[in-house]
């Protein structure tokens, strides 16, 4: 009996307790073993988990291909930046800003969704791609005639998240133990990522989730079943965008700096890759996809140079280029050998094997 089987045979409460201990202990192990760089990667991984879960609602549940998803992340980030920085001298509390950011992103989701409802597949992809770029270009140019976003220079000195009077950018002493700032951030992001995950799971297993799946499977039949496909699709855009906006706000507070170049098309594509690579529509798979695609590129970034040095005695290929090359190969390999993703919905795996 291997460890995995042992785990699945345990009572649910024991499983839950083990999971909590593992998730709570993880940042300390990473911090002690690999250092702060990797703790930051871990925090970012959680942000990407939230993003991927949000995009999964649009792409995985409702089957609408969105190539401009990062725009909602940008909206959330800029809302946070504008409401908690010296830019306008506003310093709202985090509990006020995060919902406002999510709502603003939700509004943008509806703005994007409404005119594109008749489009599907390639055409929808092109329009959403354009939308993502429009938002980024707006951020880049909204410094004149009235300076709102500070243009390409971005907004700096954004307030870190404050909870109960304590800023997450400062270490915290509890019972004589010093918890580093990056670990505090980890816990906060983890809590929100778990909430997003729970919301996704519950939505999927509900009347709304079934309506999304029906539209994905056969839109005409869904209409014939009395589903108002227009509203239900808009809802998918709005929900996905809200989660993106939430993640964006966290990103701004974590970096304490935002600029338009963080929201390029490449970022949209990365998040889409996380969803597709992990297993479209399957929440555990999407989380796995987000973790793999955040951690592996970082590992290449830090490991490729030293490994080449050790094997060949010199660095033959720039780690940055090598990273993209390996990433491309990995994507092609996954699509060839696991076309439904690394961890697809068990039911859909049957379907792909049957072909």
């Amino acid at each position: 009996m291997n460890a995995g089987m042992l785990f699945t045979r345990m009572p649910r409460k024991v499983q839950l307790a083990l999971a909590v201990i593992a998730l709570a202990g993880l940042p300390f192990m990473v911090g002690a073993g690999l250092g702060n760089t990797w703790l930051r990667v871990l925090d970012f991984a959680l942000l990407y988990v939230m993003l991927a879960l949000g995009l999964n609602i649009v792409v995985g549940f409702a089957g609408l291909l969105d190539l401009g998803y990062i725009a909602f992340y940008a909206v959330g980030a800029y809302v946070y930046a504008l409401l908690a920085s010296p830019q306008f001298g506003l310093h709202w509390p985090v509990w006020a800003i995060l919902p406002v950011g999510a709502l603003a992103a939700c509004g943008f989701g509806v703005v994007l969704g409404a005119p594109t409802l008749r489009l599907r597949g390639d055409y929808l992809a092109i329009v959403t791609l354009g939308f993502g770029e429009i938002v980024r270009i707006f951020m880049n140019n909204l410094n004149a005639p009235v300076n709102i976003t500070n243009g390409p220079k971005g907004i700096a000195s954004i307030d870190p998240i404050q909870i109960g009077g304590h800023a997450l950018s400062q270490p915290l002493e509890i019972f004589g133990v010093t918890v580093p700032a990056l670990v505090l951030t980890y816990y906060f992001f983890l809590a929100l990522a778990l909430l997003v995950m729970l919301a996704g799971l519950r939505l999927q297993d509900s009347r709304i989730g079934r309506a999304w799946a029906a539209i994905r499977e056969d839109e005409m039949a869904a209409k014939a079943c009395g589903i108002n496909t227009r509203n239900v699709k808009l809802l998918a855009f709005a929900m996905g965008a809200s989660f993106g906006g939430l993640a964006g706000g966290l990103f701004a507070s974590f970096q304490e700096f935002v600029s338009p170049e963080s929201f390029s098309l490449m970022e949209s594509i990365m998040v889409l890759c996380m969803v597709v690579l992990g297993g479209m529509g399957h929440i555990p798979g999407v989380i796995l996809g987000a973790l793999v695609l955040t951690v592996l590129p970082e590992a290449f970034r830090h490991g490729a140079g030293p490994v080449q040095q050790a094997v060949f005695g010199q660095v033959l290929m720039d780690p940055e280029n090598l990273r993209m090359l390996l990433f491309g190969i990995a994507l092609v390999a996954v699509m060839l050998y696991r076309p439904s993703g690394l961890w697809p919905d068990p039911r859909h795996r049957q379907e792909f094997n049957a072909r």
């Binding site: 009347r207 309506a211 014939a224 496909t229």
Partner: protein, 261 residues
């Protein structure tokens, strides 16, 4: 003995017209479906049966005419509103949600008659859990009604052809329709499956449903329907009880051609 009152009309289609470019697919088609009857719509290939069906269910916008359903005009060009108004349909080429289970397919059918939204779903409110349980119960009842409850957990696409037809009917019934419109339900079925389907449709009528049946299988239509309308080249050429329709010279001409001396 008192005279039975005439059954009320459930659906009245008045002067329906539909063009595709220069082709007049439907011209001036009027028909009345009474509550509780099985109404057949037949005609040679290309006569406009499916077009009429699609116009009725809102899939195609109609160019002329109006439809009064259960006393109110039927909304135009919005299939989901037609379904909400109480007309459910099946498709000539089965359109199930292939990668959802049979039960989930029927549960989707319950969408129009349930109402919990995002907040309820995310918070798992009491109302949501109760509604969800009711939807699930209803789906299982309907699967049992059409006789495929043993396959409830299977993906729709793994069902046999006959079972897929039944599942589509169960999903249509889940929308709680007043009129059930079946587009060639016996197409592609063997004799045994057709016999079972016939029994199911007859049972639907006995249970008080009104059925509009488009069918190629003349034997099935003649045996089942209370009244039959015949379309030819987009026009209605007959509308009567089966025995009269079978004797109607226009119908014989449409199906067999004219004898030239």
């Amino acid at each position: 003995m008192t005279a039975l009152p005439l059954p009320l009309p459930l659906l009245e289609a008045r002067n329906i017209g539909k063009r595709f470019g220069g082709v007049r697919a439907l011209q001036d088609v009027s028909l009345t479906i009474r509550r509780g009857e099985i109404y057949g719509l037949i005609g040679p290939n290309g006569a406009g049966k499916t077009t009429f069906f699609n116009v009725l269910t809102g899939l195609y916008p109609r160019d002329e005419g109006e439809v009064i359903f259960a006393g109110a005009p039927l909304p135009l060009g919005e299939p989901y509103r037609v379904a909400q108004a109480g007309i459910a349909r099946t498709f000539q080429n089965i359109r199930l949600f292939a990668n959802m289970s049979a039960r989930e397919n029927v549960m989707v059918g319950c969408h129009a008659r349930s109402k919990v939204g995002v907040a309820g779903a995310v918070l798992r409110s009491r109302a949501q859990r109760e509604e969800e349980a009711a939807i699930r119960r209803r789906a299982d009842e309907l699967l049992a009604y059409v006789g495929i409850n043993a396959r409830a957990g299977d993906l729709a696409k793994n069902l046999s052809y006959g079972d897929q037809r039944r599942l589509e009917i169960a999903r249509a019934l889940a929308t709680e329709p007043q009129l059930l419109a079946l587009d060639e339900p016996a197409a592609g079925m063997n004799a045994t499956e057709t016999g079972a389907l016939r029994a199911l449709i007859a049972r639907l009528r006995d249970d008080g449903f009104t059925v509009l049946l488009i069918e190629h299988d003349i034997k099935l239509v003649m045996g089942l329907c209370d009244r039959i309308a015949v379309l030819d080249y987009g026009r209605k050429i007959a509308d009567d009880v089966p025995a009269e329709v079978q004797r109607n010279p226009h119908v014989i001409e449409a199906y067999l051609g004219v004898v030239h001396e």
